[in-house]
Amino acid sequence: MLPDTTPVTPDAHTLALRLRFFRIDPGVLARLAALRPFAERTMSDIIDRFYEHLLSQPETRDYLDDPALVERLKRKQAAYFLGMFRGEIDLAYVQGRMKVGAVHAKLAVATQWYVGACTHYLQLIHEHLHRERASDEERRASFEAIERIMHFDVSLAIDAYIARHHESRLRHQEAIRELSTPVIRVHDRVLLLPLVGTIDSARAQRVMESVLVRIGEEHARVLLLDIAGVTVVDTQVADYLLKTTSAVRLLGAKTILTGISPQVARTVVELGVDLTSLYTRNTLSDGLDLALSLLDKQIRTIDQERV
């Protein structure tokens, strides 16, 4: 299992550093708090027009195909919007903002749309600020404060995106690690190929080729194909097993399939794949017994030999 998707949130110290970097000081926060009545007044228009914009763009419209969803998001957006005018940025605020980013990342909203939408949002706020009765100086200071906190929020969202991306990289790496496979000589003329994890098409090709070469080199008569470590036997794996078996047969050797779990047996039957043309044994050791008997050898216990 991989760690949860929630990204690492900064502590109080890094939060203070980040606020300083974004030049969000107590003055800016106080200004934002003072803008709260403005925010409450203009909020519904800004949010409506924001969603109008999102719905007019094919890239963002796809995510908003359900009117009930849009309504729900608008309500969330209102809370998000007012959050900027609380006059306070604490760790809970940071967590909330990162969660917003994480949700967008999870839905695979590309960062370009996320950042682009924020820019549009800012523009809508700007328009409204322009209509306020205030001096140019005041307006500029207000806009700057809003701009800073929005950019601060976006930076948190991007952190969440990066964390999500990192996590999906880890997942891929894990998946790739599943893909390696060695051929082992277990007995004179008997080779074992323990398949583990995932068999992707490129690797299947390579593994099959190396198995065939080894069979040729060792004059092997039997190949034990153990699939106990394979998580999923789907049609691609089944196809691979069947193709390997026929290629091995062409080299004059036999394939024994071992390590089929009850779940895999059931699934393969439901899929409609016919593996009955293969020798199969439940366990690897039963498979080895069969291999030896196919080679006309038996492992006799010393006792039996003495008899």
């Binding site: 599943e178 992707d200 009850p262 899929l271």
Partner: protein
């Protein structure tokens, strides 16, 4: 959509490379285990996820999967959707009959997946893509 079923938040995974097929089915497996699916049901939904996401990748030219857990009248399940905007399936009846592949494989992925799940719904139109929705209930609800 399954009537009456309540769904959790949806997880979206891109399917653009073969490794994504592995990621999708691993995630489906994790969710199934977390939902308390028994080993047979886990194998079934994981295999169906593998088949259908591979079809998205190799026939549909890539797309995405949506994964969500659902609950309905005390039972829990997993709903998976596979969406692509590829060529669509020209002869759906033939494709669902099984044993017919436009590639060089067995051609059993689609028909087999349908047997592995509890509900199977497919929408496809030529040139516009394919959406397949499957639902699997945990066999032994707790």
């Amino acid at each position: 959509m399954t009537p009456g079923a309540h769904a959790s938040s949806t997880e979206r995974l891109q399917i653009e490379a073969e490794a994504d097929v592995v990621v999708v089915r691993r995630r489906a497996r994790e969710l199934a285990i977390a939902q308390g699916f028994d080993a047979f049901a886990v194998a079934a939904i994981t295999t169906a996820a593998s088949e259908l996401s591979r079809n998205v990748w190799c026939h549909g030219g890539g797309g995405h999967a949506l994964l969500e857990t659902v609950s309905d009248a005390g039972r829990v399940g997993l709903r998976l959707r596979f969406i692509d905007e590829g060529p669509g399936i020209a002869d759906l009846e033939l494709a669902l009959r099984g044993g017919c592949s436009t590639g060089r494989s067995l051609g059993l992925g689609l028909s087999g997946s349908r047997r592995l799940v509890d509900a199977f719904h497919i929408e496809t139109s030529p040139g516009e893509g394919t959406t397949i929705e499957v639902l699997k209930w945990a066999r032994f609800p707790h």
